[in-house]
Amino acid sequence: MKHNSDGSGQPGSGIKKGLTTEVYLFILVIVIMLILRLFAADFYSLNNVMSTFNYFSYLLIGAVGMNLIIITGNIDVSAGAIISVVGIAVAFVGKTNVPFEVFLPVGMAVGAGLSFMNGIFITKLRIPSIVATLATTQLFAGILPLVVDGAIYDLPANFTWLAFNAKLFGIIPSSVLFMIIIAVIAIIFMKYSRFAKKLYAIGNNANAAKLAGVNVNKTVVKGFVIAGALYGVAGTLIVTAGQRVTMTMGSGLEMTLIAAVVLGGTSIAGGSGKIIGTVVGAFILSLISPAMNYMGLSSDWSDAVMGAIILVSVIVSQIAVMTEKNKLNTMKLNCNPEVK
C-alpha cells in the first residue's frame, strides 16, 4: 500500500486523475450499451433491465460504504462476512413475524455494530486495516455456524415484501429506490460536508490531518460505522429477495465491492476518489454477467472479463499518470539552466 502513494499526495492531481477515469468509464458504458442495442436488443426487456438494476443496487450501496473506508486509506475485507451476518440476523428477526419495517433498522444496526468493532481494532490497537479485517472476517463468518444450522427457511410471507411487492409504479423495485437515494445523498455529502473533507485529509496524510486538529481515530471509526450501516442496507436487500437465507450469502462479495471502488478511480492509497466514479464502476461490474448472457457468450467467463476490465482500466489510468509525470519532469529540466 506504500507504493504509488506519492502521486496521489497532491489534491489537484488526484481530482484530475479521477475525472479522466470517470470519462473513460462512462465512454465504456456507452459503448457496451450500444453494442447490446445492436446485437442483443432483448437485453433491454423490462424484466432484464430491472434485474440488472437490482444487482447494481446491492453492489453500489455496499460499494459506497467501501468507498468511504478506502478514501481514509483503509480497506475492509470483512464486508462480505458482515453482509452474511446481517442476512442471518434479519432472517432471525423475520422469523418472529414482525412487520417488515423492522428489517432495515436491524440490518443497519448489526452492520454498523460489526463495522464499529473493525474501526476500534484499527484505530485503538493500530493494526493495519487489511489484517484487522482479515481477522474479523473469520470471527464474523465463524460465529454463524454456531447459531444457525446451515440456513434459515420457512420464513413468513411478509419477509420478501420489500423485494417483490414494494415497487414504485409497480415497476421499479424498492432496492433501486434505496440505491438512488443513498447515491445522491452520498455524492452531495462527499462534496460539501466537513466530515467528508476530514476523510479525504486523513487519507492523504493522517499525521498532517491530526496536526491540523482532526480527531483521526474518531473520524475513521465514524466512517467505518457509516459503511457498516450501508452494508446492513445492502445485506437486508439481498436476503429479503428469497425465502431461504444461507450463511454464506455475502462471502466473496467484499472483493467485488473493492473492485467497484477501484474501477471507479478511487486510489487504494486513500485521499482521492469520487462516489460518481464508484457508481459507474459498480454499474459496469453489474452489467458484465447479464450482457454476456444476452450476447450468447457463456457467463462462466464473466469473472475473467471482470478481472481483465479492472486490470486494463487501472493500467490505462496509471500510464496516463506516468506520462503526465514525465512531461512535468522534462519541463522542470528545461526550466533549470544548471542541469543543461
Partner: protein, 330 residues
Amino acid sequence: MKAKELNKKKSGLSFNSSLLLIFVVLFVSIGLMNNNFLNPNYIINVMLKNIIEIGLVALPLTLIIITSGIDLSVGSIMILSAISGGIAAASLGSVPGIIVGLAVGVACGLMNGLVVAKLKISPLVTTLATLFLFRGIAKGITSGDSVYSYDFTTFMGNQTLFGLPISIIIYAVVAVIFCVILSKTTLGRSLFAIGFNENATRYSGIKADKVLITIYTLCGLLCAIAAFIYLGRFTSVKFDVANTLNLRIITVVVLGGTSINGGIGDMKGTILATLIIGVLNSGLTVLNIPIDVQTIINGIVLVISLIVYSILIEKEKNKRILEVAAMKKT
C-alpha cells in the same frame, strides 16, 4: 544501522519464541485431551499433510509481504494451474500436464510481478484484478466442472518416501531454501530494504524491479507446485475453492509476525504459524469440534496474536527511541 539490525533480531526472536510457546501449549493440551492426536501416524498423515499447500505458498508470500506488497491472487493461481495442468494431462498425458501446470503458475506470477514492478500499480489492486482474472479463466475453461487428478499429481499428493509423504519432504526442503534466501542472501536483504523504503533502495543501486518480478514469479511457481499436491490429495478440483485459499494463506503469513506494512518479517515465524494452524485445525477435529467452529477459533488466535504483536511493536519502538537518544549522547 548495527543497533537497528540487532534490535530487529531481538524482536523477531521474542515473537518467534512466543509463537513456539503457543504451538507447544496447543499441541500438548490437545494431546492430553485426546491421546490419538499424539499418534505419529496422525501427526504425519493428517495434521501435516493437510497444511502443506497453504504452507508452501505462505513461504514466497512472506517474501512479497516483506517488500510491503501483497498477493491476493495466490489461491486463483493455484486453481488455474491445477485446472490447466489437469486438462492438458487428460488429453496429452502426465508430462505435458506438468509442463502446462508449471508454465501457467510461473506466467501468472510473472504477470503480477511485471504489473507491480514496471507499471507501479499497487500490489493490492493488481492482484485483486488478477484474482478475478485467473479464477475467471479457470471457471471459463472448465465451464464450472471439476478437473481430475493424473499420475503425477497422484504421486505428489499421496506417495511416501522412507515412511514420510513426499509432499512433506518437498515442504521441508523448500522451507529450508526460503529460510536461506531470506536470511543469508543479498536478495533477502534487498527485500527488507524495499519494504522499508523502496525509493531509497532504488537509489542505492539495487534493481528493485528485478527483485520484485523475481519474487512474484517465484510465488507463481510455488503456487503451481502446491497445485500438484492439492489436486493429487483431493483427486478433483473446482474453480470455487480459490476464494477460501487466498485468505487462509495470508492469515498464516500475518500470524507468523510478518508486518503487512513491509520491512519486518521472518521465515521461521511463517513456518511456526503454519504448524499452529495445522495443529489447531486437526486438533479440533480430533476433539470432535465441528469444522464450522474452527474458523472462529482461527480468527480468535489471529486477533490475539495481532494484539500481542501491536503491543510488542509499540514497546520496541519506545526502546529504539531511547537507544537512539542514548547513542546521540555518546
